[in-house]
Symmetry: C2
Subunit: 476 residues, 2 copies
């Protein structure tokens, strides 16, 4: 019997990298275990997982929206409505009855594309948001946005010479899925000097380079609001990007999972690509992704989301259906989460007041924390940080001295990974080094979430670590 | 702009076929819609989806286990324990508290491999079942068994010349995943004449044929209890299969999702491959899959399951971890379903009596229905049906006359698909033709589930349709 070793496995998987749950995150888990030992000699008393946008995790404890959970509890055990009649608001009971009539048991497989009734509700949500029609039969409910992205990349990569344009920095799901499906990542650089904006020229340059290298670009990925940057696209850039897709026959993959995380709504608003494509009457195939994991819902663990296909032929929709049917159906618990997201309580309904209070508190806390954190990070020597107008993250740039870079080299680490490991060891704060997202040659960043409740203590730790670091390795 | 057509997409996906949710199932959905029209002229008043093992679906309505759902309701909205204090049994409240302490919010991402506490409980369940140690760090919780199977196949197929041995008939997830990941299916025939038993010689023949064709067999798939056959392997066959894997350096993929669906427990018992491999001290890499969708749990919609790896190096485990981390985590709702499956109420606990009553009723109904149905099908002219000792299905063979085969040919259908379409059109019963699972050249079957509650009415329709068919096309 030959043993099964990594070299005998699919070589494409070796190249998959996903830093958000990589070396740093694994070490953070180990430290969390170590803290349970009363004799540990760690210089901190808790590990703060700022590596991932996971609002409800222990220690961050962003509360779930009560309405969503009350409906879910009744879906789990419908008899509760009778057994505890005074516990649930009227609109919750009514909503659960309606869903039960449509779905039946949440323990049954649903339609592979997602419960038809919920897809109709998603289509209404999109129509109200954008003012253009949406077809429920071209909407696929998913277990979070990630599986949809991965499936679309699997479909679009039709040869090892096919590539997909991705922003740098990017959310590493894109490079990971491309590696898994043997596609070529075609990076285009975002511009940090103008709030991480997207330059049409830089996308055009990437298309040109791909063509020169004999690679066919199949799709353009846009993350709006940006991850890890938090940037929001303006209308003229969105239009130009759609035209660029038209010119080069690209599918537009619009990752819009942070569309409801807007910290400066007076100046930085969100417009969906669905709306732009509809306004321009553009024929480009568009896939828009949304999720219940982000926004103020934060229901990551439910695994719910959807994607909408525009300008897709019925033949291609049937192919997508076939592929999702092999996985049977998305989790029904996530599907009812999507229903809550697209049909929140309305004014006049029993749950509206609490819903408004809860969601406003989360919006305000995120906006204020993001602003405070970026301001204080900007005051540190050698740190510059765009004050993100959207999403859940900051992506500060850190200048690292020659001495720091040499120390990293001796440790066999990229300089920003070395910095992030130091931060974790000293403070218990886990961030993701910029190399996990991609960055300009010779620059260093890290991504941290703006989810930690005690912002003073949290930023205080970041500040102390950075000042000690500069003390030790000198200014860059 | 070139339109996006199917020919421009990944050619591997074209070859994916999944009959369980294919042509018949899509037509059944359309008929279900048509029934809502009061002026429809359909010869039946309901569609019965016997194409898929989905116990809790509308019309079948197998009730969920109350304990599982009560715990889940408290996980969704923990305040319920205080707000409705007399509604939940004591052990349910205690279990929910324990899970909340370990998991925190079910709206948070968990460890990518699954909640460590739940993995420990799975390991204990396996240890108690088999009497051999199980390592929680080599267990991966999943969104149902399917995603695990697909990932393992993606890993093992390291070139287009790599193949996997699959039983014929098989559950089409295997051929679908192989097509998606460009691997070669290496079929070995099960023996219908001896209750669909597995012949070592037939597997050896398939290995030999693969080698002659220049294909490297990487793994052997065993479905036990069988799907669609319901067959159970005996101990000597299991041992011989393990030795065969050893001889040919094959990974054993043991699909054991029906391990708790045993209709003749006096004569047909289940032994896990984990136990056999441990007893033999075999070094073969083994992956065993289990699920909450089947058994008496029937919680398909939660999407929960696990796989355990044995004789896997830490390096390969790390690779699997990396791959699952890109998808973040399995649905937490499914994970708590797994916890319920492996930790049901025990004698002496408040919920035990109801749990025993509910699970016994489901076991008995399934066993009795399976037996009755196979007996009555066997009485039909040209039909022979193994009385399945396990799983949720029957897989009757139907002899089709020359006239029937000609009619099928004119309709452009395989004869068994033609039969199944006729059955659907006449009775509203949706089954899956044998060609969807694979069968011996020139033989015809269909798979139907044994989940329909009104067995008399249900089999009555099957009988009438078949007799009319024989009337029309003659005996074979």
């Amino acid at each position: 019997m030959r043993p099964l070793d990594v070299d005998s496995l699919n070589p494409a998987l070796k190249n998959v990298e996903y830093a958000v749950r990589g070396e740093l995150a694994i070490k953070a888990e180990a430290l969390r275990e170590e803290l349970k030992n009363p004799d540990n000699r760690l210089p901190f008393d808790k590990v703060i997982s700022s590596n991932i946008g996971n609002p409800q995790q222990k220690g961050l404890d962003q509360p779930p929206i009560t309405f969503t959970r009350q409906v879910a509890a009744l879906m789990e055990w419908p008899e509760l409505a009778k057994l505890a009649p005074n516990v649930f608001p009227e609109d919750v009971v009514q909503r659960a009855h309606e869903l039960q009539a449509e779905i039946g048991s949440i323990g049954a497989y649903s339609h592979s594309q997602g419960v038809p009734f919920i897809r109709k509700n998603v289509a209404k949500f999109i129509e109200e948001r954008d003012g253009y029609p949406s077809n429920p039969n071209h909407i696929f409910l998913t277990a979070g946005a990630s599986v949809g992205v991965s499936l679309l990349i699997n479909m679009l990569i039709n040869s090892p010479k096919a590539g997909i344009l991705i922003p740098i920095p990017q959310y590493p799901l894109y490079t990971a899925s491309l590696a898994q499906h043997s596609g070529v990542p075609l990076p285009y650089l975002l511009d940090e000097s103008s709030e991480w904006s997207t330059s049409i020229q830089s996308v055009e340059d990437a298309v040109k380079k791909a063509q020169d290298d004999g690679i066919t670009p199949r799709a353009l990925v846009i993350i709006n609001p940006g991850n890890p940057t938090g940037a929001l696209l303006d209308a003229s850039t969105q239009e130009a990007l759609v035209k660029l897709c038209e010119k080069h026959s690209l599918v537009l993959l619009a990752d819009e999972v942070y569309q409801n995380n807007l910290h400066k709504p007076e100046t930085h608003t969100f417009t969906s690509f669905k709306k732009v494509v509809s306004q321009l009457k553009s024929p480009i195939p568009l896939v828009s992704f949304h999720s219940i994991s982000k926004g103020v819902s934060g229901e990551c663990g439910r695994r719910g989301g959807y994607f909408e296909c525009d300008n897709f032929s019925e033949e291609v929709i049937a192919l997508i259906y076939k592929m999702v049917s092999v996985g049977l159906c998305p989790p029904v618990s996530g599907q009812i989460g999507v229903d809550s997201l697209v049909r929140p309580p309305k004014p006049g309904q029993a749950s509206y007041g609490l819903w408004l209070k809860e969601t406003s508190a989360i919006h305000e806390a995120l906006a204020s924390r993001t602003h405070t954190m970026s301001e204080r990070l900007n005051n540190l020597p050698g740190v510059s940080c765009v004050d993100s107008p959207g999403a859940l993250y900051l992506f500060p740039q850190i200048k690292l001295s020659k001495a720091a870079q040499d120390a990293a080299k001796s440790a066999g680490k990229a300089p920003d990974a070395f910095y992030a490991l130091g931060l974790l060891d000293e403070t218990g704060i886990c961030v993701v080094p910029g190399s996990g997202f991609g960055q300009k040659e010779g620059e260093w960043h890290y991504r941290l979430t703006c989810l930690c409740p005690g912002v003073d203590e949290y930023v205080g730790k970041l500040e102390k670590f950075h000042r000690d670091w500069v003390e030790k390795y000198g200014e860059a």
